[in-house]
């Protein structure tokens, strides 16, 4: 048993460290904030906030594993959210009844997938660099969102209570959003860890040529990752507008950077090929924690951004150093052999 634990830790050094950091930070913040942090209310708030980020992170990580990047998730969120809620609004009757939330969510996810598909095609079939392609679509999707919205917002009174219940409702005393995030996490954990297709993503990220030679359809795999990212963005988008009961053109502007940041915090290597699902989720949690803790610590709003940035910087530099250490170990082993 103990051995088993040892093995798990030895194979998840970075993740374990991350977990430790999170705990230490939590305690520290709690003390500094006079016990306001580790309260049931605040924790649940924090996790609800984080759950959306976590969902996006799950989507983004597979893109990053293939060595790509998706800057368009923020815009995709807005688009999916806006379309979903607009449909909902137009479907509402006087009694405040409308299409069932499930359908709306499905619709949003679908739109997200379409957006992702476009990205994927541009990148894998037309050989556009991910950053450029998604930079372009970022503008496009955002613009389309504005056009769809016609410049007006969809607000609480345009949403059915059943729809808003998605974000506010609880199951076993835990907010639905958290449940959804957990499900996404579980699925992704299975997909990237235990499904052939999932492993192919890693293969492609490790070495495109090798993957091609060993009969993996690289184009399809890459496209798939962007579709996944898009789908997650769609889901996150609709949940986002549902949570804040307001859907606007500028919903989630610049959100993509948070997502990328939490992937990086979670040790997903941006050069592609490696990154663990549980690592990424921890990264998201850590990032969410920062967002939640900094105001709690009564840190001047003007300091928060810089602090956030420095913490990310620190984490990636530490990551780099750690991995250098490990390669050095390998060399030593070789030297002895």
């Amino acid at each position: 048993m103990n051995g088993g634990v040892k093995r798990i830790i030895s194979q998840n050094v970075r993740e374990s460290c991350l977990l430790a950091v999170i705990f230490v930070l939590a305690v520290a913040v709690n003390i500094r904030s006079g016990g306001n942090f580790l309260t049931a209310r605040n924790l649940s708030d924090m996790f609800v906030e984080t759950s959306i980020l976590a969902i996006l992170t799950m989507g983004m990580m597979s893109v990053i594993i293939t060595g790509g990047i998706d800057l368009s998730v923020g815009s995709t969120m807005a688009l999916a959210g806006m379309v979903g809620t607009s449909v909902l609004r137009d479907s509402m009757n006087e009694a405040g009844q409308g299409i069932s939330p499930i359908l709306i969510i499905a619709l949003a996810v679908g739109i997200g997938m379409l957006a992702g598909l476009l990205n994927g095609i541009l990148i894998s079939w037309f050989h556009v660099l991910p950053i450029i392609a998604t930079l372009g679509t970022m503008n496009i999707y955002r613009g389309v969102t504005y056009l769809v919205s016609g410049g007006s917002w969809v607000l609480q009174q345009n949403m059915t209570t059943s729809f808003m219940a998605v974000a506010t409702g609880k199951l076993l005393g835990i907010n639905n959003l958290i449940w959804i995030a957990l499900v996404v996490f579980a699925v992704n954990f299975y997909f990237l860890g235990y499904a052939r297709t999932g492993r192919k993503i890693y293969a492609v990220g490790n070495s495109l040529e090798s993957a091609a030679v060993s009969g993996i359809n690289t184009k399809r795999t890459i496209t798939l990752t962007y579709v996944i990212a898009g789908a997650m963005a769609g889901l996150a988008g609709i949940l986002y507008v549902c949570k804040y009961a307001a859907s606007q053109g500028e919903t989630a502007t610049g959100y993509e950077l948070n997502v990328i940041a939490s992937c990086v915090l979670g040790g997903v290597s941006v050069s592609g090929g490696s990154g663990k699902v549980h690592g990424a989720i921890l990264g998201a949690i850590l990032f969410g924690m920062l967002n939640n803790a900094l105001p709690l610590l009564k840190i001047s709003p003007f300091w928060q951004e810089a602090i956030r940035g420095l913490i990310i910087l620190a984490s990636i530099v530490v990551n780099a150093i750690v991995s250098r250490r490990s390669t050095r170990k390998v060399l030593e082993r070789r030297a002895i052999a």
């Binding site: 990047i69 541009l122 079939w125 037309f126 050989h127 556009v128 660099l129 950053i131 450029i132 392609a133 930079l135 372009g136 679509t137 970022m138 503008n139 496009i140 955002r142 613009g143 389309v144 969102t145 504005y146 056009l147 053109g249 950077l257 990328i260 940041a261 990086v264 290597s269 941006v270 050069s271 001047s300 003007f302 300091w303 928060q304 951004e305 810089a306 602090i307 956030r308 940035g309 420095l310 990310i312 910087l313 990636i316 530099v317 780099a320 991995s323």
Partner: protein
Amino acid sequence: MSKLQTNVMAHRSLQNERPFSTKRFFLQWEWMLVLLFIIINVINTFLSPNYLVFDSIMSAIQMFCDKAILVFPMMLVILVGDIDISVASIMALSAVIMGVGYNAGLPMGAAILLALCVGGACGFVNGILLVKFKELSPMIVTLVGQIVFRGIASIILEDGAAGSFPSWFQYLGWGYVGRIPFILIVVLIEAVIFLYAIHFTRFGRNVYAMGNNETTARYSGIKTDRIRLFIYVLMGIFAGIAAIFLASKMGSVRPSVAKGYEMDVIAMVVLGGVSNNGGKGRVIGVVIATFIVGLLRYGLGIVNVPSQTIMIIVGVLLIVAVIIPNLKSTLGGYRWFQKLMR
């Protein structure tokens, strides 16, 4: 096929001159840009009578020239195969420090110098991180830079604004030489300098080599690290310069200035035909592209196309510009495409 033939009929003596071929001359991305440029202007003039007025064009140019200043160093960054998304934040930081410095009693000249130094320092930070930690991608490093630099700016100035610069300072952003905006002249001079540096010097050649194949460049004895560091510092300094002109344009500075500039700049460079895999593209192309984007925005604005639609158009333009050079490699396999080519 054709290549095979050249090999077959190969002979011992090597030609080191080749006749000027109009075909080769006109088969260049730049000509398409020129074409595009003309089309846009035609369409604009045709859509709005207010478009083709010398002064209004000039003032339009004045509007996007502060971005144009960033375009050329960004071109260098992309040429070596990197990307820098922290420029906007560097601008904000150096602008803020300049403003604060001036309001703290520094002479304007010193404040300007300060801004340049700050910009250079930021660039140095990016560069040194990338050189020392080769495993980090430029995307991430400059992303962090983007967050941190603006963060520092907002620490310094909090919710305040700095400014009330001396009156002559406004000339930088708004002044005219005759009927030509001062800033346009600055940009053109800059363009000439970069043209020279990129196309006619050893430095330029080395940069292209790096962008095409960094390993080969290293094996050929090029100090790749030094060049990369230099380029990022340069990027930073020019961000500082842009910041100065922006400050003069806005008359006052806040930590929030120049948000989103980096994306526009990158778009201009890429449209200019600077390959996003590095190592390809020309200054002239970038110049044209800058004016295309700027005047397109202006033209559409002047016929009151809603700004969200303009977003879409620019986005599409960007992607199309990148796709077209790849078309051959993408569709080359398909019969119908090969037919089209004939």
